[in-house]
Assembly symmetry: none
Homo-oligomer: 201 residues x 4
DNA sequence: GACTAAACGAGACGGTACGTCGAGTCTTTGT
DNA sequence: ACAAAGACTCGACGTACCGTCTCGTTTAGTC
């Protein structure tokens, strides 16, 4: 998180602006992971970033937009779409990558923040975040259909939701432990459901 | 603080105390539904309940415990366990009842509040809330096993989770529209998964 | 400054409100005398008064109105109107009392604050402050007219202004030293001017 | 306003520097006249002068010295000493010229700024400003003494103060209206006082 | 039915964080 | 190499809400 700041600095020009922006967003994510959204203080973020509060407010209108920006930045990483050759392998790879994100303190914090409604400024980020991952994953199913692993009527979006739902259920409603077994179960649920016609469009 | 709750609820009149308590908890839920947890202020709750702020603080130590109590109270309603004679019917009834709760403004607010972590005082409530519903539902699966509809190795808890996951996914990560079609899909996913061995313990 | 706080507390009822109000106004005058209006900080006033900043803002809308109130309070002391039997004695007594006020650090600070225009909230206080002293003093001249010491055409207000003008000139434009000699000169100027017909209405 | 400053600068340099200096000082006076000292911001002055804030800070150490400089510049105009042939005529001319200055928005602003104590950097300017006018005017009285219009014991400085005091009283403590009648009264007060021996040294 | 003890209403207070503004300093960039 | 542009630090402003406290008044339960 902080390591690539140097890189950013080196690569993307060297502007103080860019450096400050990166430092603040990093600090925001760190605070988010440590204390959660409710307890996140602009002053603390600023101090952690080695920057004055005023500087933060010069770039972001308020706490919410600061967090929104930090989440967006964090979420803008590439979403790798696996292509292992068969549906189960692809879904397993996808679920594993989701799980690895959800197992990060920051990942958990991001999800928790996005899910806490009542933050009108964050709904856009949320929609984009989950929507993109969603859309990015549908080719997996389309390829499976093309290979004949799944009937053509199956709804790709539904398969992805069915795959992710148990993971998020564990994180948000359960005890938060996302392990190998859970990933495996999610994969088998999705495959079974898809084959059974439950996910036909 | 909490001990006489049972009595209070049983009688629902008693003295001024009971009346005040009920009014404040109601107001808390209403505010929660209208504005969400973050924007809920004790002053507003008190005003809405026709009570002084001091009175609220006399009974609840802080905002968090007030909300925790309100959620607990709301969640203490009986959880009806359907028994329609076959697994699919039971699951459908269960999912429908879940969906009807999630379609209430208060229901949504409760779930949103419980899910927003970082509120250490609420994790107990959350665990109790989802845990109880969970446990209450496992007999459905046990009966299905007894009827031979499902293999005996199936994990009842996993079935219930698989049933609810798509609904909560829609509420928390999706667009929030929980309709008939979604319920139906959840049922078919759960049944297919259970039959496929994906939910074996 | 601070000494009479005790008294206030003991005498004027005992309400916390009254005590706080008095302490804050005292502190305001003290800060004003020490550092002047521009450097007066609400936080410093609060700290000096042993009170929280918020408490100050709960009673006064802003810095300006706080100062306005403090000045008004300070200025609300009785204005003793001398009656020594002859005009010169009366004017000398009046000028001496003015001079004694202007020789106080607080007196200087008050005048300096009132005179610094650009504070719309203070013009009312200013008008009241000087206007009242003005009006209060005119009987002195009226009595002198009645005694035949001055012609009836003389304008009482003009006499008072002529008396005070050299004092304020010294304070505001000169070196600030208001001494016996200056008072004496002011008295003689006013008498000479009044007798000469220069102050006829 | 700006034209004669060129001349001043013309002597010293004449380049961009001089132009910038003049523009900033002009803008300072304009802001002072419009909003007063307290509300004068360096940013506004810079913007008005079509210059960057940094440029202002390169030439003047702080707000105070900027204003001090602007006031000094403004005050450096020649003080015409009338010589009408008799004391009353001279004093009338002097008072009229004072009044005409005090009736300018900038004139009022300058006086108000100089009078607001608590600005250590301005006391020098103030002393110079009033002192010079003071000294410049004493020849008027000396001539009157030479002509036998006034006794030789009269203190020239006291006469000038007595003349100006009512004008400044009106501006600073009164309603601010400096008219013909007031000028006339000031003249008559000063003459009467001087003749009466009240202003003897 | 009176009387005491508990609970309530009213409202001020200390405290923390918010988001804003202006003074004065320091860095980056363009010429 | 240097100065304009602009970003930064610092400190104060005025606001909102939390949770505490005091004091008088009302109400409930007991004798």
């Amino acid at each position: 998180m902080t390591e690539n700041k140097q890189v950013v600095q080196g690569v993307r020009t060297g502007g103080r602006s860019a450096r400050v922006r990166a430092a603040v967003l990093d600090a925001t994510l760190a605070e988010l992971a440590e204390s959660g959204y409710a307890a996140l203080t602009v002053d603390n973020v600023a101090r952690r970033a080695g920057v004055n509060k005023t500087t933060v407010y010069r770039r972001w209108t308020d706490r919410e937009s600061l967090v929104a920006d930090a989440l967006t930045e964090w979420a803008s990483a590439d979403i790798p779409i696996p292509d292992t050759g068969d549906l189960e392998g692809d879904l397993r790879a996808l679920a594993t990558s989701m799980a690895s994100v959800l197992d990060t303190p920051i990942g958990r914090a991001v999800v928790a923040t996005l899910v806490s409604v009542g933050n009108p400024g964050l709904v856009g980020v949320k929609r984009r975040f989950f929507g993109e991952r969603h859309r990015a994953a549908t080719p997996i199913v389309e390829r499976a259909v093309a290979r004949g692993e799944l009937p053509p009527e199956v709804d790709p979006a539904a398969v992805i939701v069915t795959l992710r739902a148990p993971l998020y259920d564990r994180i948000l409603l359960g005890d938060g432990v996302v392990d190998e077994a859970l990933v495996e179960r999610a994969v088998r649920i999705a495959v079974a459901a898809a084959r059974s016609g439950a996910l036909d469009r």
